[in-house]
């Protein structure tokens, strides 16, 4: 076996949708026992190519060769039979079933024709231990957090017998750093045993860490490929965008001590249902026009703070002062009325109404404000505001009456942002606003954040991506295991400080 044996070869693949060419003469090699990284902006064609390799879609032209032998995959069944598995970007789990039922769905073990749940539990335990993820196999998947669900999705694919190629489409988009570490260890084990991995991610630093070969897509074409050890991040970004681009750091110097405080949270505490705390006496403040970052690992309590403020956690205690006055936490619609806007972490599940069009989604939180004396919606005012907002947040769309799902992920996220911004908030709470969107769209979301901060809106941004939060936040609060472990400003904001502080809460609780 040579160092770069080609396990699967795609030859001059075309994929044509009416009116658009998603893939244009793409020839791509999957190198055996390597991590083959695919990168490119959304819509560059990488996901389409993966769907073709996994048998989900058929190429319009071109051929696939498996170890030199021509193959066709009319459906996922044939691809799976050849040991090709895909982990989707969007979760495909059954929230109403348990972890072990999810793991063995459609590949059940039976004994005398009946389900052998003892065996299921034993195997589930095994694979979860291998992932260093001690979740009880009897837990309902719907009760798990998004990051935990993603690990279940990964575990499910590790159980496939005869696995040869594992396609991972943004598997880390909701994992914490330590979970990513575990995942990378597993990936190394897999490649060492001869399994080839195709890895799609938007996180450049991850690609540099885990990738062996990198292939860059742009506008349906394969534009560059190289061994990762021979290239650096600027090289990748240059090929992706066709021009150099980096996260712009907000540069202006502001004396925050002179700025008025718009929100002050004191001793925010939220008990955990099984004992202990989800939030333990967390205090912080927020200045007018400030971008405050919340950094922390999964389960650190970042999302819970937002949920407390928005009225979804009635069990919390502590004092919240807004504009010098004690804030009564009411229902979510009341909190929107008090000037808060919240972008939830899970765009598809919590942010969008998929059956409604772009305009309806953007206006949803504010539609009551357009009610005329007769109770009808003032269509002209609503229409004008939504159009203004679409221009303001730079959503690229020809007609705002198109279905929301016809937009790319980045534009969908801008719609969720626009929905919040339309209620004229003074404080915006953004939970992972750049999750699962490409670099170009990310930069645009960051620019939106700056734009609104300059208008005087105060924003709290949760992100688990270090480089991102370092770039955008004026000040960063680090949470760990429900505790606030650090707060950094200015030059103290760096990767080392943040990472160290993100573990402090765990040590604390063990003492």
């Amino acid at each position: 076996m040579s160092d770069t044996e080609i396990y699967l070869h795609a030859e001059k693949i075309d994929k044509i949708y009416p009116g658009t060419k998603a893939l244009d003469q793409v020839s791509f090699d999957v190198k055996r026992g390597k991590v083959n990284v695919l990168i490119g902006e959304n819509g560059a064609g990488k996901s389409t190519l993966m769907r073709i390799i996994a048998g989900i879609e058929q190429p319009s032209a071109g051929k696939l060769y498996l170890q030199g032998r021509e193959v066709t995959f009319p459906s996922t069944v044939e691809a799976r039979a050849n040991g090709i598995a895909i982990i989707h970007q969007e979760l495909s789990l059954f929230p109403n079933l348990t972890v072990f039922q999810n793991l063995f769905m459609a590949s059940e073990h039976t004994k005398n024709g009946l389900l052998d749940d003892a065996e299921h539990r034993r195997l589930a335990k095994g694979v979860l231990e291998r992932l260093k993820y001690p979740i009880d196999p009897n837990t309902k998947v719907g009760d798990l957090r998004v990051g935990q669900q993603q690990m279940i999705e990964i575990a499910r694919n590790l159980l496939i017998p005869n696995l040869k190629i594992l396609i991972m489409d943004e598997p880390t988009s909701s994992l914490s750093e330590s979970e990513v570490d575990t995942l990378f260890t597993i990936m190394r084990e897999l490649t060492a045993s001869g399994i080839s991995i195709i890895y799609i991610s938007h996180r450049l630093e991850e690609l540099m860490r885990i990738g062996d070969f990198v292939t860059i897509f742009r506008d349906g074409k394969l534009v560059a490929e190289a061994a990762v050890k021979d290239v650096d991040v600027p090289w990748i970004v240059r090929h992706m965008l066709g021009k150099g681009k980096n996260y712009p750091k907000r540069s202006e110097q502001i004396d925050w001590s002179k700025r008025e405080t718009v929100l002050e949270v004191k001793d925010l505490t939220l008990p955990k249902s099984g004992g202990g705390f989800l939030l333990n006496k967390v205090s912080f403040n927020l200045k007018k026009g400030e971008v405050l970052g919340f950094y922390g690992l999964l389960g650190a309590g970042r999302t819970e703070i937002f949920e407390c403020i928005m009225g979804l956690r009635p069990l919390h205690s502590g004092t919240i002062i807004k504009d010098g006055q004690q804030l009564e936490i009411g229902t979510l619609s009341e909190m929107i009325g008090k000037g808060f806007a919240w972008l939830p972490e899970d765009r598809q599940r919590d942010g969008l109404v998929q059956t409604m069009n772009i305009e309806q989604n953007i206006a949803l939180s504010n539609v009551g404000a357009y009610s005329t004396a007769a109770g009808l919606i003032d269509q002209a005012a609503e229409d004008r505001d939504v159009s203004d907002m679409i221009t303001d947040v730079k959503i690229k769309v020809a007609d705002k009456r198109l279905p929301i799902l016809s937009l790319s992920g980045g534009n969908q996220q801008k719609c969720v942002f626009a929905k919040g911004a339309l209620t004229h908030p003074t404080i915006m709470l953004l939970d992972e606003p750049s999750r699962g969107i490409d670099i170009g769209a990310k930069t645009e979301i960051f620019n939106l954040i700056y734009q609104y901060a300059e208008k005087g809106v105060s924003l709290i941004v949760v992100s688990s991506e270090l480089e991102e939060i370092i770039a955008i936040a004026d000040r960063i609060v680090v949470l760990s295991n429900g505790l606030k472990t650090a707060e950094f400003t200015g030059d103290d904001i760096n990767q080392d400080n943040l990472v160290k502080a993100s573990y402090l809460g765990h040590q604390h609780s063990k003492d």
Partner: protein
């Protein structure tokens, strides 16, 4: 215009096309079908299912279901019948209300029934199917209790008691059935609310993605309660009309009509999954059911075959609906790829 766009246009107009084809078919199949007399009779039946279907459309749009409407038809009708026939006895005195008051009370009974449905569903988190199944039995039982299962006949009222005129809802005005006029008025109001008010927008969002709606500030529980009250109110109006048409009230009136209401909504393109539905679609759906039923009667098709054909039409409608949704999704995906 490419092929998909053409198919889409045909699919979107399919309920009207089907209705037109059915009318043409029955006009040839049954001589007396395409006469003003027959068509008015069809319209009278259609009005009942149409009004029920309008209320049901609201409920289905929130991804709920209301099985109690048929029983509320019976209960509201019996309330009206009882108040005309027996009056209202309290402390030994019997009061006879005027017809407008009676209608108001009957409708209120339906609205309260809907309120009970809404409260059970939102406050106690009972699945709509089960909650309304329960209230269906309760309302039917109460309808029977008002008369111990008997019919109140001859509801013309007495001049001396000042409660005449109840039969108006079964009559025609200028040759047009009052029931159809009521349906059109309700349909117009309901369609306006659904498309042009914040409330309508909110219930579409609830059915499309309840979590996202809630997190966007929609008062999900409150809006759902209103929706069930509306459905109950529609059912009570149907109870009054049906009673008026017969000039008699029977406790089993409206039995299984909830199924016709659901069928009308589904034929009109309302999704049982929530988030999708139009009022005028439901009205056309009600016409399709009415034309098939009465048309087959006039053709002399046996009652048993009528059932089978009605069932087939409903299933076929949903299959076509599903096809349309798949095509829509496909076209959205294409648009998305083109946008990039």
């Amino acid at each position: 215009m490419n092929k998909n766009d053409l198919i889409m246009t045909l699919l979107k107009g399919r309920t009207l096309i089907v209705l037109a084809l059915l009318v043409i078919f029955f006009s040839f199949a049954a001589d007396q079908f395409f006469t003003s007399q027959s068509l008015l009779l069809v319209a009278k039946h259609v009005a009942l299912y149409g009004i029920l279907g309008i209320g049901m459309t609201y409920v289905l749009v929130t991804a709920g279901i209301d099985l109690s409407v048929g029983a509320i038809v019976g209960l509201a009708g019996m309330c009206a019948g009882s108040l005309i026939y027996n009056g209202f006895t309290i402390f030994g005195y019997t009061i006879y209300f005027s017809v407008p008051t009676i209608v108001l009370i009957a409708v209120l009974v339906g609205v309260i029934g809907g309120l009970v449905n809404g409260l059970i569903i939102t406050r106690f988190a009972v699945a709509p199917f089960i909650a309304t199944l329960g209230t269906m039995y309760i309302a039917r039982g109460m309808a029977n209790l008002t008369s111990a299962g008997a019919t109140f006949p001859n509801l013309n009222g007495k001049e001396a008691l000042g409660n005449t005129g109840f039969e108006i809802f079964g009559r025609d005005i200028l040759g047009f059935p009052v029931a159809v006029i009521i349906m059109l008025v309700i349909a117009f109001i309901a369609a306006t609310i659904l498309r042009k008010t914040p409330f309508g927008w909110h219930i579409l969002a609830i059915g499309g993605n309840e979590r996202a709606a809630k997190l966007s500030g929609v008062r999900v529980d409150f809006d759902k309660i209103l929706v069930y009250m509306f459905s109950g109110g529609c059912a009570a109006i149907v109870g009054v009309i049906a009673t008026s048409q017969l000039v008699a009230s029977h406790p089993m009136t409206g039995n299984t009509w909830e199924m016709n209401a659901i069928a009308a909504a589904v034929l009109g393109g309302t999704s049982l999954m929530g988030g999708i539905g139009t009022i005028w679609g439901t009205v056309i759906g009600a016409f399709i059911i009415g034309v098939i039923t009465d048309g087959m009667v006039m053709c002399g098709v046996s009652e048993f075959w009528q059932m089978i054909i009605k069932g087939l039409v409903i299933i076929l409608a949903v299959i076509i609906d599903q096809y349309q949704r798949d095509l829509q999704a496909k076209m959205a995906l294409q648009a998305r790829n083109e946008n990039k």
